[in-house]
């Protein structure tokens, strides 16, 4: 494998890891606040559709982005209502949301565009264009550094850079701000937050809303950045891989970056090679596809470092029976 190929694979890794990273951070906010969310997939899907649909109609990718975030937020509100206000089962609520998104996107797409549940292809301003960073072109010729800078680091769409910036930002919010302190506390012991005079409901809704926004970005990136338009089920399990990455990352922002890059790399390799020949042993592509899930199960089983979820996670906060 030559240097250029590696750069290409890494480049592809960054692109493929971006939606995973955004969704993973989305899940991080929600789960750190004690609201488990296996509905990342559905929210991404809804956002992917809405962003593509509105971007197509308006011709503006930014309007599309806004609409995508809106759609994702709407599903977040449902999840919030079910799991915070009505103290329902968070897992069941999220399962429902995933199905709702899978069904509604196709239904609406079919009704609006009559193209069998997809949106028309996006062109021009309806898509996120790659951003060329300063000096990328002039540096391209420099050996080693040149390709790394101009091919790998430069030339991604705005959302990629936003996603990467979200990592330190999330770390800072979580560990350096009042909001972060309260957010972490409400996922560990909501009663402590409540008796300290802070609204558990408010915090959890805020977390779920942030989760919605980030899932919205992830979905919009899929439909208007990575691809040019929405197709049925286009998230293709990315929400679940993001969830797996979140567990892999033990609910921490920097680890989340690492986990999603790893899973992105796995996808990039699986995309490019049908079968990988490692000196006689052929690794089938299906194994590469399944690897993120297998790794997550291994982590979950506690064989490699135990992943301890936020202690109050998954349980509605009930004061009075």
């Amino acid at each position: 494998m030559d240097f250029l190929t590696i750069i290409q694979i890494l480049d592809s890794t960054v692109r493929l890891a971006t939606p995973l990273l955004l969704a993973c951070l989305a899940g991080l906010y929600s789960e750190r606040a004690g609201v488990f969310d296996i509905g990342l997939e559905g929210k991404m899907l809804a956002a992917a559709f809405m962003s593509a649909a509105v971007a197509y109609v308006s011709g503006s990718v930014w309007l599309g982005l806004l609409a995508g975030v809106g759609a994702s937020l709407a599903l977040s509100v449902i999840h919030g209502l079910a799991s915070i206000t009505f103290r329902g089962n968070q897992l069941i609520s999220a399962v429902a949301i995933n199905f709702l998104a899978a069904g509604l996107t196709v239904l609406i797409a079919q009704s609006w565009f009559q193209q069998g549940g997809r949106t028309p292809s996006l062109i021009g301003g309806a898509r996120f264009e790659p951003i060329t960073l300063p000096f990328a072109d002039s540096l391209a010729g420099v050996p080693f550094i040149g390709p790394i800078y101009s091919d790998l680091i430069s030339g991604h769409s705005a959302l990629v850079y936003i996603a990467l910036a979200m990592v330190p930002l999330t770390w800072w919010i979580l560990y350096r701000t009042r909001f972060g302190l309260r957010l972490r506390a409400v996922g560990e012991n909501p009663a402590a937050v409540d008796t300290a005079g802070v609204s558990v409901t408010g915090l959890r809704y805020a977390a779920v809303a942030i989760c919605g926004v980030l899932c919205g970005l992830a979905g919009a990136y899929l439909a208007t950045g990575l691809q040019a338009g929405f197709v049925k089920d286009m998230t293709a399990g990315r929400g679940y891989i993001a969830l797996a990455a979140l567990i892999f990352a033990k609910w921490r922002p920097w680890y989340a970056l690492g986990a999603t890059l790893l899973f992105g790399l796995l996808q990039a390799v699986a995309l490019r090679y049908q079968n990988i020949d490692l000196g006689g042993v052929v690794i089938p592509v299906q194994f590469m596809d399944a690897l993120p899930y297998i790794l997550t199960v291994i982590i979950l089983a506690g064989f490699v470092g135990k992943a301890i979820p936020p202690r109050a996670g998954g349980e509605p906060y009930v004061k009075e029976r």
Binding site: Q8, R15, G116, Q227, Q274
Partner: protein
């Protein structure tokens, strides 16, 4: 009886294979003013139900686009001896079945020639959908065409996957194309159904040329689709509909000779294809039609003489 058309999983608007089938049906409907029934499959298991449902309700003939219907049709055909079935891309036994197959290798040869002439780098790409003999047949014809023009040219080949999901994965199509471009490809031909949208998109984004397949895809990225290999599925469907319930069953081959295969020229690629290129390709087409030039068919012996 109303004729019926069943689309495969890629969906009616895949801008490719299924869409071509739809166009044929549409043309028939417009010409005759009559209506037809259609359904887009959502899952493997629905194949048989769709066939039966149409046969049951008296639709005739029932046309299905895609080799994957083979085993379902085998099952169903005998149960409805009065209904005529037409299957495209697959040979299926049965007294009431017409099997339509195309000489895709011939068309692929033509666009391969064009790719080799257009390529500045001497490297061209091919992105297939599901890795099955049918798609290798495309690839093999393409390589033969490329090598006929430039024996030193490199052809990078990738298949998207091994399951029907490979027909509808534009992201993967795009990534594969980007990888090929990184390796120097400046013309990429796809035979990947819905996945191909991603291929053409990536080619257009990178400022190189894509080649469409099945339908005329030149319009999708004007100036960036060199041409399209036309597989006249539309004609096959149109004819089946026109023949109606009395259609002749059996084996039908569509190739360059009978207008079933070709390549697309229109206002979108007029500026891309020089007269010279066109002339050489047309010449080859004539030779193939006359039998003077024989393009090797991968499916004949599951092998390709060139790589």
């Amino acid at each position: 009886a109303e004729p019926a058309l069943i689309f495969d999983l890629g969906g009616k608007f895949d801008k490719s294979f299924n869409e071509a089938a739809f166009a044929g049906a549409q043309k028939w409907a417009e010409e005759t003013g009559e209506s037809f029934r259609e359904i887009e499959l959502q899952s493997e298991a629905q194949r048989e139900q769709a066939l039966r449902r149409f046969a049951e309700s008296g639709a005739n003939p029932v046309v299905m686009a895609g080799f994957a219907f083979g085993s379902a049709l085998e099952e169903v055909a005998a149960d409805y001896p009065d209904t005529k079935f037409v299957i495209i891309d697959m040979v299926t036994p049965g007294d009431n079945v017409r099997s339509v197959v195309f000489n895709e290798h011939e068309g692929s040869y033509l666009v391969g020639m064009m790719a080799a002439q257009k390529s500045a780098s001497g490297v061209v790409g091919f992105v297939g959908g599901m890795d099955i003999p049918l798609i290798r047949k495309f690839a093999c014809g393409y390589v033969q065409g490329v090598k006929a023009v430039n024996p030193d040219a490199t052809v990078i080949q990738n298949m998207t996957g091994t399951t029907p999901a490979a027909w509808g994965d534009p992201v993967k199509g795009g990534e594969l194309t980007k990888a090929q471009i990184a390796q120097g490809a400046d013309v990429v031909y796809h035979a990947a159904g819905g996945t191909g949208v991603g291929v053409l998109q990536a080619a257009a984004d990178a400022g190189i040329y894509g080649i469409g397949v099945d339908s005329n895809q030149n319009y999708m990225f004007p100036g960036h689709v060199l041409t399209s290999m036309l597989k006249r599925v539309d004609n096959a469907v149109y004819e089946a509909f026109k023949d109606g319930p009395e259609l002749a069953t059996g084996f039908q081959v569509m190739g360059i000779a009978n207008g079933g295969i070709g390549y697309a020229m229109d206002e979108f690629n007029a500026d891309l294809v020089t007269d010279e290129m066109k002339a050489s390709v047309d010449e080859a087409a004539a030779k193939i039609a006359s039998g003077e030039l024989l393009v090797h068919d991968y499916m004949a012996d599951s092998a390709c003489p060139v790589e």
